[in-house]
């Protein structure tokens, strides 16, 4: 009995001591654990990989089964991939692997024995990470001529652009305290004090895109001052898009009327409104838009390069491209595709979006996010 109660007493006093000690020095900083080794100015991203491109598939590929790995937000209508199978006889199995960052990380991890033949969903922010790791085999799609010129970013065609969208600041028109914001500068003004919510660039893809937008707009030397201004004006940072949009933003009953989201969010608000509305409650601040492009690529190590190439071709076809807007809420890369009504009426892309070269993004990513953390979270 004695030893048992003694051990309880030791445990309890230990626990109390720890708690008291800890509350005296509570630490909730987001620290940085590894030294940042930002890549050198010389980037190997768009250098010639020295691999021969895959030839346009010609033969009969019926009966082959290939795997398509995507992020969690990939969605097309039921009949679309089936149409591909009907046309070519190739069966496509789709696997979802998390968000864009996870998609690329798991592909890099399994590069010696990939889980799939084709990857869809690597975007311009992660592009060079994938290219420098040697994830893809080059293939020049026949329909590449129909694609908007500025989207075909890799001169060696290791990835093919499939869709694009803009990450922009959205605002809820009726909830604004005053006039609508006209530019990024307005967000640091008193009118918008405590009105803006955005996401941590390290845990959120649109959050990172917004950071890139500010870097593109204010330059390497000015963006940190801009963010200090935002912090002074009461900006809120969340971990992910849902808790910003549905937690703090008006859409979820929150108190903030300005949020980082997509140019396609207003059409989505319209389509999924409950009760139905005549026009979306939100609008886009076009001065803030950063272009996001999504690519597909044939994974190195695939056993079915020709079938994979056929799938890439299909992804630029009318059947697939016209299915994209109302399923994934992005714009088709193929410029010949007609957009659905909700997009025509309420959607738009910025005429002059902010962009940064993917090689520059990859080289500076860790450095930028560290500096952002220092300015905003500390």
């Amino acid at each position: 009995m004695c030893s048992k109660s003694r051990s309880i007493r030791v445990l309890v006093s230990l626990a109390v001591a720890i708690t008291m000690f800890a509350s005296a020095c509570s630490s909730d900083d987001v620290g940085d654990v590894a030294t940042a080794t930002s890549g050198g100015a010389e980037s190997t991203c768009f250098a010639d990989p020295g691999i021969d491109p895959i030839a346009t598939p010609t033969g009969d590929l019926a009966g082959t089964t290939i795997t398509l790995v995507t992020h969690d937000s990939f969605f097309v209508s039921e009949g679309t991939l089936k149409a591909f199978t009907d046309e070519t006889g190739i069966v496509v199995e789709q696997v979802a692997a998390g968000d864009a960052g996870q998609l690329v990380s798991s592909a890099v991890l399994t590069i010696d024995n990939p889980t799939a033949d084709v990857m869809f969903g690597i975007d311009n922010a992660f592009l060079c990470r994938g290219l420098e790791a040697g994830l893809f085999l080059p293939y020049e799609a026949a329909r590449l001529g129909d694609v908007h010129a500025e989207l075909a970013v890799d001169p060696h065609h290791r990835v093919t652009p499939v869709d694009f969208g803009d990450v922009c600041v959205n605002y809820w028109v009726d909830a604004l305290p005053g006039a609508a914001p006209a530019s990024l500068d307005d967000l640091t003004e008193a009118d918008f004090a405590d009105q803006f919510v955005t996401m941590n660039p390290e845990t959120s893809s649109p959050g990172f895109a917004f950071l890139l937008a500010t870097i593109a707009k204010y330059g390497e030397d000015g963006w940190e001052d801009y963010w200090s201004g935002l912090v002074d004006n009461g900006v809120e940072i969340t971990a992910g898009w849902s808790d910003a949009y549905y937690g703090s933003f008006t859409a979820g009953g929150g108190t903030r009327s300005v949020v980082t989201s997509y140019a396609s969010s207003p059409p989505a608000e319209f389509l999924f409104a409950d009760p139905p509305v005549d026009a979306p409650p939100t609008e886009v601040l076009f001065d803030s838009c950063f272009r996001q492009i999504e690519f597909a690529g044939i994974l190195a190590g695939t056993e079915h390069p020709e079938a994979a190439a056929a799938l890439i071709e299909f992804m630029l076809s009318e059947t697939f491209q016209s299915d994209i807007p109302e399923n994934m809420f992005v714009y088709p890369a193929n410029s010949t595709i007609a957009l659905p009504d909700s997009f025509v009426r309420f959607g738009a892309t910025a005429d002059d979006p902010l962009i940064i070269d993917p090689a520059v993004i990859e080289a500076n990513r860790d450095d930028w996010t560290e500096r952002w953390t220092t300015v905003v979270l500390r």
Binding site: A34, T37, A96, G247, D274
Partner: protein, 535 residues
Amino acid sequence: MNERRAWAAIGLLPVLFLSAFFLYPVGAVLVRGLTADSTSLADIVSRPALRRVVWFTFWQASVSTALTLLAALPLTAVLANFRFRGRRLVRALVTIPFVLPTVVVAAAFVAVLDRFGLDRGAVNLRHTVWVILAAHVFFNIAVVVRTVGGFWSQLDDRQEQAARSLGASPLRAFWEVTVPRLKAALLASTAIVFLFTFTSFGLILLLGGSRMASIETEIFRYAVSRTDFATAAVLSVVQLVAVLALVVVSTRLQRRTTGTERLAVDRSTPFTTNRQRAAAVLVATATLAFLALPVASLVERSFRHGDGYGLGNYRALTERVPLLPVSALRALGNSLAFGVTAAAIAFAVGGAAALFVALGPKRLGKALDLGLLLPLGTSAVTLGFGMLIALDEPPLDLRQSWIIIPIAQALIGVPFVVRAIAPVLQSIDPKVREAAATLGAAPWAVRREIDLPLAAKAAAIGTGFAFAIAIGEFGATSFVGRRPGHLTVPLSIARLLGQPGEALRGQAMALSVVLMLVTTIVVFLVDRNDQAGVL
């Protein structure tokens, strides 16, 4: 000789399971990370930022665990000692928070903060550690109530009665007689709650904003956002070492406390005084009210449709929403199928392990028990990525197969089954068995008549819990990659919450309510009481 071979056979199943699906994948990914070139490992470990992160993780886990125990024990006492109408229902209701996906819990807590005005002005709890602690308690009350409560309800109460008849007050009888007998179960549930909160990911990420960093969120950040497997591997090792240390300490403490106990099938009695009944009602109401608050906001939101309230969101679940590859009903079917499979695996592996731990060779049993606890304390990212690189070649080419999902879920469920069954088996007085043998029963009959009834109830409790965990799970399998047809309910909810549109949000809430209902029903049914006719 025969006996040794029998034990080896029994122990082989859990050892193989653990080795193939945990040790091998985790080992593979850690080796990959630690042997990568880049920064020196000693550099990484010595960063002050790392120490801060480790400290915060320990602190929030300890306080969460302490608070959970405080919040759960009154209700545990009531459920174990008293028999009353609605008892099974209360026990099932307490399990609900445990199955809710973290996305939903986070949303519910934000809603509660909003309703009570606690996220603005003078008292602003948004993104503070207090919300995280509250959410941890919310989640883990079920663990204590079920593991401690299960064991407690089977403790024969004659010792307490003896103490009472000798003049001890109820409180003294409780403190000096009951608590020491409960120590094994208390320590076990404390360890589990600590492990869960130590590796908590979704809640810290979503409720803490970006200002809170735990070891788990940092592993995610480095492995997934930065593709920096070296740092992630180092952090995983730190996490594993911490977990191992904790488990060793708790096992040492437990060793001194297990003795044989006289077990009843159910010790509960009806209320004898009005004061008892009043106290029990108060405790049950208070605890359930705390749990109900976030749940109520979910339920209310799920019925909000159009301009008022209605069943529209629920009706929409039967159709296929544009965003989801399968209808919500199909996702529910998937979740149930995976859950049942995971529970079955957990039962088989955990049952064998419990036998081995409780009645087999002592040292090996301890090692196995420790080993089986490790998955609870391992980062989901590490395990998921490990499976991705390890299970890629025959005979274990399972990373694309559907079976990997229930296997990963079972890894978390097995320790619960073991912890439910082993203490019961360990506490059976060998003299009871010897008595049965003296009276002529063959060894297998002894096991069947003595061990089985007592162990069966514990097995049901443990397996039911494993099922509940599998249903609400979201962790390691989201890193392995899944086919759209295998979509489960938690993933569907997360996707519905990932797009703008009130209608989708309403459906996410409706789906969460359906998930809660299904779990309550299943857990309620599994929780069989041998006393007929009592709820």
